[in-house]
Point group: C2
Chain length 235, copies 2
DNA sequence: TAACAATTGACAAAAATTTGACAATTCAGT
DNA sequence: ACTGAATTGTCAAATTTTTGTCAATTGTTA
């Protein structure tokens, strides 16, 4: 009778948006059903992994048939919480804040931009994407009166924690952080960080790694020409 | 004599930029040495993991002392390939492209913005961050003559693959993709994707998960009041 | 209606990742 | 110079994640 709360691993969670994205595309192409094998070929995963992932949440498929695309899309949407509507504010109306404000994909997923805040008097009062930029002094009050669920932090890294501290005193549900610092937040606030420069450094690592490999490859070739081929090296 | 090329796992690679970031902060605070334990407390990892991660690349520490911050920073910079200089272009001068062009952190890490490309005649000719926006027709030629290493894709998802296809015919080393699609690229081109909306959906998942947990918590409490406490449930 | 191909869900095996433990070493204080 | 506390690098154990396999089920075709 005891309902076990199965803990879903973060690895699985991180793949859910990707499933959602691919299923959305299949719907657009009027595809009715999909097998884990075909999906795995499209997405570059194993079929086994897809079936295992989905089974964390329930048996959505049918033996001998596969998965109904629309049904599965709906299920994953629900798992992702996209049946909820979210109100969000952007804090920091610099280039990145403006870029996010102007991104159109969010509202159709149920995320509604309600306000933009900045500290710079020159920017306050401007209109971005139908929303006026407000003085950051008004932040807490606005969150309260407008029922804001999510705050997007786009301020410089020096000010990010101080903004987070202010948010921690409100009843905000989630923080989407773009400042290049790891924020400390209240335990019951959800935090999702986007570290763009970390991503760029990862790219740099991979480029460099490839350069090193190529260099080594050349040395190996030169050595191989006269003699017998070496036994294959694990990559 | 055979030099084994140790394969570094992607999990480790993804943590390197974070080490780099924290060590950079320590340098700014004039901290000379750091132990894996202190670093683990700062970063929210285990000390064991940090030591293990770093040992993939060499023994940078000293028993009984710890790690010299500057040395370790320098080593990790090198591992990340930051001793190289990279020339990059941005393709798509919309809000996001402009935000990236204006971000100051890149050039100090050795990434130099050389050109911005767009298809929109109204934008072509504009100057962003000292760089003129050029017609996308000139892309391939520019990559060749200016020795461009990295292309940043900031075009709408409908055009992203077509841009990637064009890049695949050049000798570009890496692609940093912000369009919400998984690009197909040549095997010898390095790809790093930033899926902002995936990240937002992950946030949505976590918020929703927390809501469900709270709801269940309340039910459990109500049930517990009269009787004996249930045995603890694994979280 | 029977036979066959396709496919899931479940389980077990395999692989990868993280954690724990400890000998060896270093530094600081006396 | 000696002692004790701190700390690394390494190995093995524990845990988590991914992959492979197969019975059971379904839809399709002859």
């Amino acid at each position: 009778m005891e309902k076990e709360v199965k803990k879903i691993s973060i690895a699985v969670i991180k793949r859910l948006p990707k499933y959602h994205r691919y299923l959305g595309e299949l719907i657009q192409k009027d595809v009715e059903k999909i097998s884990s094998r075909k999906l795995s070929e499209m997405m570059g995963l194993t079929a086994s992994q897809i079936r295992q992932d989905l089974n964390n949440f329930g048996g959505f498929g049918q033996q001998g048939y596969g998965y109904n695309v629309k049904d599965l899309y709906r299920e994953i949407s629900k798992i992702l919480g996209l049946h909820n509507k979210y109100n969000f504010v952007i804090i920091g109306a610099g280039n990145l804040g403006q870029a996010i404000a102007n991104y159109h994909g969010f509202s159709e997923k149920g995320f509604h931009l309600k306000g933009i805040f900045d500290i710079n008097p020159k920017i306050i009062g401007m209109k971005i994407h139908e929303v006026q930029v407000m003085d950051i002094d008004k932040l807490e009050e606005f969150i309260y009166t407008e029922n804001i669920d999510i705050a997007v932090i786009c301020v410089p890294k020096e000010n990010a924690q101080e903004v987070a501290d202010r948010l921690n005193k409100t009843n905000i549900k989630g923080i989407w952080n773009f400042a290049p610092v790891d924020l400390r937040v209240r335990k019951d606030t959800v935090l999702e960080q986007v570290h763009l420069s970390d991503s760029l450094l990862t790219l740099s690592y991979k480029i460099n790694e490839k350069l090193l490999q190529e260099r080594q490859e050349k040395i190996r070739q030169r050595r191989d020409i006269p003699g017998h081929p070496l036994k294959s090296i694990k990559t």
